[in-house]
Symmetry: C4
């Protein structure tokens, strides 16, 4: 059982504009989810802000033995995430998954990218 059932990404920011051909070069913030197990993962994402109550949960599933790279700027239900605003996220899953955070910032002529494994919460199982 590789992974954990809760993850946190304190950094969140969707740039307000992009530069270059879309969709590859569109500015985006991504949570990469890996479900290496044999059961479907039911995932809930909660989004935190600095000036209001959290949004969500945003619900999705990751089939067994699959990865899903979720773009925050494509989340719509229950509400889109505002551009040019600070946010953070917590990701909870029904089965252990692994989460990595990546951002492509194409506001200027050349891309900038960042990435980090998200913070794995403790769920008593490791």
């Amino acid at each position: 059982m590789l992974g954990r059932t809760s993850w946190a990404i304190p950094e969140g920011y969707i740039p307000g504009w992009s530069h270059g051909p879309e969709p590859e070069m569109e500015s985006h913030e991504t949570a990469c989810l890996l479900n290496a197990g044999d059961e479907e993962a039911k995932v809930e994402i909660t989004v935190y802000f600095d000036d209001r109550e959290p949004a969500g949960p945003y619900e999705l599933t990751v089939p067994p033995r699959r990865t899903k790279h979720v773009r925050f700027n494509e989340l719509r239900d229950p509400e889109p995430i505002p551009r040019d605003a600070d946010y953070a996220s917590v990701i909870r899953s029904s089965v252990p998954i692994v989460v990595q955070h990546t951002r492509l910032d194409s506001r200027q002529a050349e891309n900038a990218v960042l990435s980090t494994i998200a913070y794995p919460g403790w769920d008593g199982r490791e």
Copy 2:
């Protein structure tokens, strides 16, 4: 209780100049704090240097269910952090939080960004 009460960021460096429209494109170093719990977090940041005793603590709070993205170049009390100098930081909180470190470097025409989850200290609770 997602997170830890002590965190370390050994990398710290505020570039001395920027390129592009401010404040979005101003060079900055950020500690992104997420308080996903239901109690206010009282946070103290201590800043370490290579040639003098530490500065701080810088005090701030993060309300319950909120994120705060703290720019080191905006810290003023008890003293501003010097530009173009190496530093490191330790972040302690009254309740578990999660910390991520990000830097935007806009000294040249195009941005460069980096990010990593900070190092979570052990507080006997996990």
Copy 3:
């Protein structure tokens, strides 16, 4: 015994084109493996996708006291990894190793790089 025997990298993406002199500036995704121990590491990489069953295992060895920086775009057996497609990977080793993930994206005129220590699975030994 420094390291773990299972690692995960949820982010995977090999850009479809490059800019600049090859091979240094060719876009690539790398898993950097460090075997700091005194026994050869037999390593198996499994690659996960969003729309099909996993590929692999890709097999390789890292001699004792050596590092090996594996470019995903050079993996050929049992099959090459597609360009411009999301993937993720799990790395298992016969002895403890340490894994770091790095990407050089040279699709535009200037490079962008990202890196993170991979997620260390629990193997009951730490």
Copy 4:
């Protein structure tokens, strides 16, 4: 006691050339060490390659309550680290420290940066 006494950085690469004013814009690979404790840290760095036995140890100290940002391209004793070659490193300390890895790549006109907290080895103390 914040930190660990052994750390690993599997990614290492010093670009062979730079672009921009030195020393700020010189390409470099850095291990940022934070000693937040009250005892001097005696540190040994061992460097691993893909085709020869390890180099080192490189010895240095970090005073109590200080940070030291070590550039691998400035290590000279017992031998300099080759340019344009893959390497990895293990950092051991007499007291707990925290280590972060950063690279500035200025081979092309604009900078690229990456950073990650290094992998913390287990030393029975956490």
